[in-house]
């Protein structure tokens, strides 16, 4: 996957309030992400995500939140380099937790994003939040490294509200699950 500085590619005028439209979904489940998030089912997945918040925040150096790359509400936030959907952080959740009342899809796809704070590339898991209708808040569509649907492990067009979380799509989280040049945790 090409590792470039995140760049917001969608028209700025359409970044907020787009009607549920069609999120241009996210892609594949890697073994690492699947193993990490499926244990105990969807509810457990959310708990894992919250637990990860605390752990990763201690280890991860985030960019200055006053900058677009450090602001989780900004489309240019560094973790969103390959996201395609409504930001969970703008829909009642955070960048790592789904909005209240939804289920986090255990199957997902991952992207590789460069953190400008430390210059390292991280593996980011883009899990879908499911069970409520499209959020309709900030929609971010970035295609760095994106491939077509038949190349599913690198396609951000696939809807992952399937399997255990078989329901409607609501929004998407961006969870750091490892450093790109190290084995995924």
């Amino acid at each position: 996957m090409k590792r470039t500085r995140p760049k917001f590619l969608a028209p700025a005028g359409f970044s907020r309030g787009i009607p549920g439209g069609w999120r241009i979904w996210s892609a594949i489940g890697t073994a690492a992400a699947f193993a990490l998030l499926t244990a105990g089912g969807p509810v457990a997945s959310q708990q894992v995500a919250h637990a990860e918040d605390a752990e990763s925040s201690a280890a991860l150096v985030e960019p200055d939140p006053a900058t677009p790359e450090g602001d989780p509400t900004s489309p240019e936030y560094w973790r969103y380099c390959s996201i395609d959907g409504f930001l969970a952080s703008e829909c009642g959740g955070t960048q790592t937790s789904c909005p209240p009342g939804t289920l986090m899809s255990p199957i997902t796809w991952v992207g590789t994003c460069r953190n400008p704070a430390d210059g390292r590339d991280y593996i980011v898991s883009y899990n879908d939040c499911c069970g409520k209708g499209p959020c309709g808040q900030t929609f971010v569509h970035r295609n760095e490294g994106d491939k077509p649907v038949y190349y599913s492990h690198k396609s951000n067009d696939i809807g992952w509200c399937m399997g255990e979380a078989n329901a409607a799509y609501n929004s998407t989280v961006s969870i750091v699950i490892g450093v790109a040049d190290e084995p995924a945790q």
Partner: protein
Amino acid sequence: MSPQTARSVRSQLRVRLRRRSALLALLGSALLAPPIAARVPIEPIGRVAVLDKPFDPHWLWAADALNARLSLVDLDDSAFLGQLNTGWGVPAALFPRSGKEIYVPETYFSRGTRGERTDVATIYDAISLAPVDEVILPAKRGINPLATGNAALSDDDRFLAVFNMTPATSLSIVDLETRSLADEVSTPGCSLAYAVGARRFATLCADGGLLIVELDDAGRVSRRIRSEPFFDPEADPVTEKAVRWGDRWVFVSFEGYAYIVDFSGDEPRFEPRWSLLSDEDREQSWRIGGAQHLALHEASGRLFSLVHVGEVNTHKDAGTEVWVYDLASHERVQRIELHNPGFTFMGYPIKFGADWFYEFVLDHVVPRNGIDLIAVTQDDDPLLVTGAKFTGAVAVYDARSGELIRRIFTPNMSMLGLFTQPRRSAAH
């Protein structure tokens, strides 16, 4: 004249005037009133309109994912003719040769956004637009924003293939004659569905090759053909938004190379790739892109490609021009600069002022966010239709001259697929 006599005379005069006025009013109303025979007749309750024909080359089905429907509009007179309501996902319509029905794969949840999931192939009557039958599918069809490629109809109209992803990939095969699920065909490593013959479907594989499945009379797999890779999916993948040209399919890669695959023989034949972009185009950073970036006019062999100026990773960005190619010579024969199709809000058109003023504002004042989708009608007077994801408006051009003819406001709140009548059913 005594005062009493004078009052009596005035009183008689008033009476006469009143009578004359009443007479004139009666005469006037008699002249102005419609004849009794033309009175509005008593009308029955419960009548429902039907279309006067199942298809027209200049009709457009426009997919609205937000309202979960397909809207039918007439490109010639802008009339909104009807709709199909289609469940979750980007709806796509499939039109059989007979012209009598329309097939739509749909997904529903028992509690709206949650609950038991039901996937179904719904069969609509093409005249009444009413659902007339359905076949329950395995509840795992692929949900993605692609307007085409998620389902295909065999050339003999007998079988419908619906793409599944769990993420294991397969095809649900629907027998449209018996109205039943015939089979589920596993397609490991391969996705989507393209009709490539009477009983054959092709799928695109992650290694850059094809998997072709042939069906028997019962809809079971009788043969599988795996091809060698014909493109590099890592370095320069073809998009899923291929267009059909008779027995051939035209795929275009992110970097603007055309890969034409001929399915007329037993095995697929891959024609040498050729570039849609010249060296000069590439220097100027022209790229293909969009949600539905290709269209094809079969009779003339003209390929329409949506393009924009952009960097790498802009393969889904909206386009600003349509470039037209002669598929026989591989030459670009036309450039069509695109106009803003117009805006709608919640399905209502945002239109103001005189036409010339409105056109001026759209073309020169408001931001041009570009075009995401294109389609071409298959008749001898082809129309090019362009749309953008977040408006219900579409622009209609003369596909030969490139001249903008009109803008049409559909009631859609989103626009994620444009479907015109396929050429193969035009004769029916």
